[in-house]
Symmetry: C2
DNA sequence: CGTCTATTTGAATGTACTCAAAAGCGGTGG
DNA sequence: CCACCGCTTTTGAGTACATTCAAATAGACG
């Protein structure tokens, strides 16, 4: 719980009364490796804040191929906002890549949170702003860089993820096949 | 101005007092075709709401190639939020593809707006949520669809934009060369 | 009408994919 | 603690999708 409070505290100042209030809105939950937090076709009931571990959000295309949209590790929010806010079936699945502890919050509680602690609205807006900025740079990458450049950029920006995430998932995130990533890595080693 | 009020009204209820207040925050501005609203390297001073016309946001890569990130037509918000909120130099440029009327708001006014009309925070959050959802589906498209599929999808979802935006800009938005788009279109006509 | 830009066409090339098979690696049970 | 099984990564050949470059044609606008 402290991790979340600390994260929120970087953006807004909360009174100690509000801190106590806030705690009641979240439930701590632990997921085993390979366990699903959200399943394609269902309705997203929670948003998740990762305390410890690693999650992947992916989509399955018409050919049955999985595409990783994002990874969430410590101090990241994840979930399907479209499904969560509109209570419509999700096209995503979220799966734990490791044993993962999260704080989760339901839609009813989420909405109540804004009423009880209006300052939280500012925090949420900043989170969405940041998400928008991050995604925009991802779109640009996919448009203007080759697979090799994208991989090198990922390597530079997320060296920690390279360590803990299987290559096939990284390949999928970068939009290439695992075979091609393997070839690229081999090429890069031999310069 | 009415267009914006109508748009906001779809998400939050404003008292007539607040409507009057709100109007004071925005300035109407008209840009000529080809005119720049934001120039690469400068600091974004405004967020824009398009009343009439069409804007493109693009980035120039290291080879000098332009990549269109988004188009904004009537009732769309645009701007570089990263540069606007952090007052850092932007990597984007925004240019009018037609004579375009916008409502623009400066950073100081934007921040004041949340204080004066807290309900506006909800509207802004919803806007960012929607942007996040839209961008996510764009990322997925780039990852899982071929150029032909992306073009057909664009055709289906934005037939209006096909009419008014030059093909080379659509090609750039789809992440392909104008030559290849031309070839695709030719192929599609002859099935 | 002429100029400038956008679109089309085509050939050669490059980037990334598919399919198949081998090699590596990690966890589990005996 | 080792052997085996299943999954991940590597390797390679052949192919498909998309780019580059060059040149011709078509359109838009003053």
């Amino acid at each position: 719980m402290n991790r979340l409070l600390q994260h929120i505290n970087q953006h807004i100042k909360l009174s100690s009364g509000n801190i106590e209030k806030l705690k009641k809105f979240f439930t701590i939950k632990s997921y085993k490796k390979k366990e699903y937090l959200l399943h394609f076709g269902s309705i997203s009931r929670y948003e998740f804040f990762v305390i410890k571990g690693c999650l992947r959000t992916f989509i399955v295309d018409k050919n049955g191929t999985e595409h990783n949209i994002m990874f969430a590790t410590e101090n990241w929010w994840t979930g399907d906002i479209a499904s969560f806010f509109n209570q419509t079936p999700t096209s995503y699945s979220i799966q734990a890549l490791e044993k993962t502890d999260v704080l989760q919050i339901s839609k009813e509680k989420w909405e109540n949170l804004f009423i009880q602690i209006p300052e939280f609205g500012h925090y949420a807006r900043v989170m969405f702003q940041n998400a928008t900025v991050a995604q925009q740079s991802r779109i640009i990458q996919n448009l203007s860089y080759t697979a090799e450049e994208r991989y090198l950029d990922f390597l530079a920006k997320s060296p920690n993820l390279i360590q803990r995430i299987p290559q096939k998932h990284i390949a999928s995130y970068l939009g290439i096949t695992p075979e091609f990533l393997s070839m690229l890595r081999n090429k890069l080693v031999h310069n």
